[in-house]
Symmetry: none
Subunit: 191 residues, 4 copies
């Protein structure tokens, strides 16, 4: 089954590059690192990518594609009962964590090493829009600056992926519990 051997080599390189970019950043990652990790030579790299820059761009595009696919898949929101809000949010957060955690390297690259923050903005926008909608429905406090809250949320998610998901220290569900607890109700005891 030595079919499309080339395609496999390309994937190996892509994967190796993603991990290295995530760990060391774009500049600190050498082509020689990438191909060594992929078990190939430097020349092989240029069989599949035209430059270091290009593989990086492809990585972002790849992430964006998956992202759009994911958020489209989430459209089944439907209307939910007030008392189910918390559970629903918790599940949504878990879904997001699972999605991003599936390709933690790609996620980190996309959110950190990205010059114009385009991908970041896309995600924040979606979250903020969703929150605003819930404000209109009386679910979310009107004092909340949804744009701001969206950014805060994404920062937390981003950090979590790196700190807990990539290390395997906590499961997505545990994390979703804590995140939803934090963001939905805050740390203070109700008096």
């Amino acid at each position: 089954m030595a079919r499309n051997k080339g395609e496999e080599s390309k994937k190996k390189i892509f994967q190796a590059a993603a991990e290295l970019f995530a760990h060391k950043g774009f500049h600190a990652t050498k082509i020689s690192d990438i191909v060594a990790k992929a078990g190939l030579t430097q020349a092989a790299f240029y069989l599949y990518f035209n430059s270091k820059e290009e593989i990086f761009e492809q990585m972002l595009e790849d992430f964006e594609k998956q992202l759009i696919h994911f958020s489209d898949a989430g459209k089944k929101v439907a209307d939910i009962q007030p008392e189910q809000v918390k559970d629903h949010v918790r599940e949504t957060i878990a879904d997001i964590l699972k999605f991003l955690g599936k390709n933690p390297h790609l996620t980190k690259v996309a959110l950190r090493e990205n010059k114009d923050d385009r991908l970041r903005s896309i995600i924040v926008e979606k979250i903020a829009a969703n929150m605003s909608n819930n404000q209109r429905l009386g679910i979310v406090k009107t004092e909340i600056d949804t744009q701001f809250a969206g950014e805060a949320f994404l920062s937390v998610i981003e950090h979590i992926i790196e700190r807990y998901v990539m290390t395997g220290e906590k499961t997505e569900n545990e994390l979703a519990d804590q995140v939803s607890l934090l963001f939905l109700e805050g740390i203070l005891n109700k008096n």
Copy 2:
């Protein structure tokens, strides 16, 4: 006034390096960039620093020193009345933002480009300890994982510095309001 002209040159270089490291990261920043921004030559750089690595380390040390000084200064916490908790927290957050925002570049470098996350851990530890204490006092919910919450908090602060303080888009007080609102009470309406 040829008074410590050298000291000034060193500061210029240090400042330029901090900004560039913050904007482009350690690897993408070239000595030539730094000295160009400082209005000096490359050779001058080595009059004050032994290597690119060294100036970076000094930057972290510098940050750590200030950090310790700051947290020592905060020891006046004393005991506060329950009804003042929120205001007190809000003020503390504003203080933190003001402190970190004073050297946003340094902050970004210290928190992001830092290999072992030592500085990050120090801060998180302090926050978590404080929160745990407040759990014992019945102020903070016991379900909260304080370590986790501390990390989340720092991630948000870090992002805010970069996103709002460095751009001058919002003041530290405005930000402190939103952050405390978010973390203390969450986004949900009390029903």
Copy 3:
């Protein structure tokens, strides 16, 4: 008709290489260029030639063979009447142009990209010898340095091939007229 399919592929490669060597020179021509033009793969190249160097050498040998064949064919010179000299020369020049123009790429490669100028020398020698003979017969001025004139002549021919024959701008006969006019009688009006 799978008759000597290999032979045809070899020819395609050879032809492509000749054109590219002529246009861009040996070094600037890549094996990948050659096979792309020939509609084959790089590996196929090595089915027919052992190296880039080798195909180049074969090109020169090829040219030399044809050259010798051509000059042997011209041996029928015989003795001609003085009044026919000009016409005879003009025809000879036209013949040379036609011969070299048949494979302009090969010609250019052979005359330009050739390290030791061997082929060039061969041609110049023949021309010079012929001219010297005509000096003895009183047809050509004795002040003429035949070696020098031969070289000048070949330079002109070489340039003409590239400039007019390869572009199809003038016919060999037109060119032969101008060349013989120039070399036989010069540009000055007889006073």
Copy 4:
């Protein structure tokens, strides 16, 4: 007098490059060859030139500047007596040879390695214009295609520079004699 040491290094590199480009062509010449010949390291090359391409372009510009300066200097043509025509032409050719022979490497590079033949065209144009003028004055035969003759002339000059001037085998004056003899009166004996 270690004044402008850099300027001197730049010149050394430029000169070395000119010789190598002339001998081996642009592609076959390596930066390492150039700097080795100049007694410097590769990094030094990039202190003075941004790329291999750039030094090549500068070489062409350099040649063009000198060329324009030269042809401007030749404007003193004035009107000459018919019987002086030959001598005048001979001198002019000698001047051209001396000029081009002063920088034979630059000349070869400019005329051979030049993609669009711009410099070549400039020279040919000048020669052709001059010849056309002499046609109107009745000095040059009207059957002569001056454009064509100009190209032929330049090809010969170019070859001579390489073959005789660069090797020092003949002087510019000797060569001017032969060239003018050839082009003005042709090789045939007047009968």
